[in-house]
């Protein structure tokens, strides 16, 4: 994801102004605020940014903390006392448990389909030139720039008019629809500028197309593909609006929360949300570690050929 895309050159480019700026005013003496005011500005900016980050984290802290609450009634809104009840009995509500499993199933299927379709599209866009490339770009962005209610509602009216029962299948269809765009754009951004002549070289050396794909193409696109798959999985687990409109009587985790919110808000909701958060963080960290290892290994390969 975005965290790994910072180009290595930016550090080099960033260095001069940091070292150079303080002495410039001294030499040239041109206008601008006095040093103390600039320092104040810097401190102010840092403080503001940290406060904004804290603001981003307060509700998350609440989500996690309230998974350890023992609410007085059916609604987990007010802190009562510390308890591990939610964690020791996570599957207390069978419908909530089933909904969570449905979510995981949907996310797996959607990730598989969307990653394959989206990656193929990205490969077509990066490796080839063809007519209609501009229109394709617009078509890919459009689903991401329309409100989810409109997308969901339009799909629903179509399913109803052709008499398709809504359920697992329609949820998958709806989620793949917007995920394909995400995957295509993420992978495209990550594999742009690769040297695809490696594939030709491999074929010229007698490798079969399948072997070429396994040994050359797949390793090249793997990091982008993994990032896109992760993103899709997380988006699928989280999606509510489009999914809800096309779910029929099927329930995913968010849908179950929505439907039962008037009668109960159990601690288990927070337990599951915390578990999902931890899972995503661990997988993302693993991705970073694996990628770093890979880069290191590539670096080692290069230095060994150099020496």
């Amino acid at each position: 994801m975005a965290t790994t895309t910072a180009p290595p050159t930016s550090r080099v480019a960033a260095a001069p102004p940091e070292g150079g700026q303080p002495e410039n005013p001294a030499i040239l003496g041109h206008g601008g605020p006095p040093p103390w005011l600039r320092k104040l500005g810097r401190v102010g900016l840092a403080t503001f940014s940290i406060l904004t980050l804290v603001y981003l984290f307060v509700p998350i802290f609440v989500v996690v903390a309230f998974s350890f609450n023992k609410p007085k009634g059916k609604y987990n809104y007010i802190w009562n006392e510390f308890s591990l009840d939610g964690w020791t009995d996570p599957f207390k509500y069978p419908e909530l448990r089933d909904a969570l499993f449905t979510s995981l199933k949907v996310a797996t299927v959607v990730t598989l389909i969307a990653t394959i379709l989206g990656t193929l599209m990205a490969l077509a866009m990066v490796k080839y030139r063809f007519k209609g490339q501009g229109i394709l770009g617009v078509l890919l962005v459009l689903p991401l720039t329309l409100p989810e209610v409109v997308l969901g509602f339009s799909l629903l009216t179509m399913f109803v008019s052709v008499n398709v029962d809504r359920g697992f299948l329609t949820i998958v269809i709806a989620q793949v629809m917007f995920s394909v765009s995400y995957v295509a754009m993420t992978v495209r951004a990550r594999i742009r500028g690769f040297d695809w002549r490696l594939e030709e070289a491999s074929m010229d050396l007698g490798a079969s197309p399948l072997r070429t794909f396994r040994k050359i193409t797949l390793p090249l696109i793997a990091p982008g593909l993994m990032a896109a798959a992760l993103l899709t999985f997380a988006l699928s687990l989280d999606d509510f609006i489009i999914t809800y409109l096309n779910s029929g009587s099927s329930q995913t985790f968010p849908i179950n929360i929505w439907i039962t919110k008037k009668s109960r808000i159990p601690v288990q909701i927070n337990v599951f949300a915390t578990a999902i958060l931890v899972f995503c963080v661990v997988v993302a960290l693993l991705g970073v570690v694996i990628n770093n290892r890979r880069l290191k290994r590539l670096g080692a390969d290069f230095s060994s050929t150099d020496s």
């Binding site: 975005a2 965290t3 910072a6 930016s10 480019a13 001069p16 700026q21 410039n24 041109h30 206008g31 601008g32 605020p33 503001f48 940014s49 904004t52 980050l53 603001y55 981003l56 984290f57 307060v58 509700p59 998350i60 609440v62 989500v63 309230f66 193929l120 599209m121 077509a124 866009m125 490796k127 080839y128 030139r129 063809f130 459009l142 720039t145 409100p147 989810e148 209610v149 409109v150 997308l151 509602f153 339009s154 009216t157 179509m158 793949v176 629809m177 394909v180 295509a184 695809w196 989280d238 609006i241 409109l245 968010p254 909701i269 599951f272 949300a273 999902i276 958060l277 995503c280 993302a284």
Partner: protein
């Protein structure tokens, strides 16, 4: 580039890109384009344009409120996100990626649960209401649930990272030597910021505004969980009626109107900021 050579040297295999595109493209055509067209058709059924005027006059308050809420939330998001993105891009140093990860991290918790956490925070007698009352910002019998402030506040929160990330990307790409040049040419830091940094971050600002405003305008979760009848948005109308009245043309007209207004706004906004460099 290699791509050009390839197509030139192998004219017989022109169909390969289309083959690669076909599955994804067909999916988008059948499940994105066709439904939108059919929704558009449905919105004119029976009454034609009068469906639209009826949808508008029945819901004019809601429509105006939707755009006011989304607009205010977007403006506040710009004010919060720009300094943060600037800080991470310019002052982040080696912690850049960590800080970015921190911006994204909260959004790995389920959207609905995150919004429910705001309900806990904004509850009467909760920490925020208590603090506001203690400081005198609110009277003792006032609360935040069921108010515009509560709903807009949660909208601000839920879409903030979508504003931070694109602004960050455009600031990160910025060539720092331009700033040095400006400084060498006697521009004050303020002027350099206005003429260079801000100008060059406009594409990110544009993308961020869209990514924030559009989901905010189409949202019904925040208004439903944190608001009352006085905070109803267009999304809520659709959500309340979709199950029983999907074939009522006015509902289609309403959702099509939401889309048209947003697209119109996007085009106008792109025109104001100058499109060419943005897309």
């Amino acid at each position: 580039m290699a791509a050009a050579d390839e197509t030139a040297s192998r004219p017989s295999r022109w169909y390969i890109p289309y083959l690669l595109l076909a599955p994804g493209l067909l999916w988008l055509i059948f499940f994105f384009i066709v439904p939108l067209v059919s929704l558009g058709g449905l919105s004119f059924k029976d009454g034609g344009l009068s469906n639209y005027s009826k949808a508008f006059s029945d819901n004019s308050d809601v429509i105006i409120r939707t755009f006011v809420f989304a607009g205010i939330a977007t403006i506040i998001d710009v004010l919060l996100a720009y300094p943060l993105a600037y800080f991470i891009a310019m002052r982040g140093g080696k912690y850049k990626n960590v800080l970015l990860a921190l911006v994204v991290l909260p959004f790995f918790t389920t959207y609905l649960v995150r919004t429910l956490a705001w309900k806990i925070l904004l509850y009467d007698g909760g920490p925020v209401v208590d603090t506001f009352q203690a400081v005198g910002l609110m009277g003792p019998d006032q609360g935040l649930l069921g108010t515009n402030v509560g709903v807009i506040g949660a909208l601000v929160y839920n879409f903030l990272p979508f504003m931070v990330l694109p602004i960050y990307v455009s600031l990160e790409k910025l060539d720092r030597r331009l700033l040095e040049a400006a400084s060498d040419l006697y521009a004050s830091p303020t002027r350099a910021f206005r003429k260079i940094t801000f100008r060059l971050s406009l594409p990110g600002l544009f993308a961020g505004t869209l990514l924030t405003f559009i989901p905010a305008a189409g949202d019904f979760v925040n208004a439903e969980l944190l608001g009352s009848d006085r905070q109803t948005m267009i999304g809520n109308i659709i959500e309340r009626n979709f199950a029983k009245e999907f074939f009522r043309p006015e509902l289609s007209a309403l959702s099509f109107m939401l889309m048209a207004l947003i697209l119109g706004g996007v085009l106008l906004y792109a025109r104001i900021l100058g499109t060419e460099e943005l897309v």
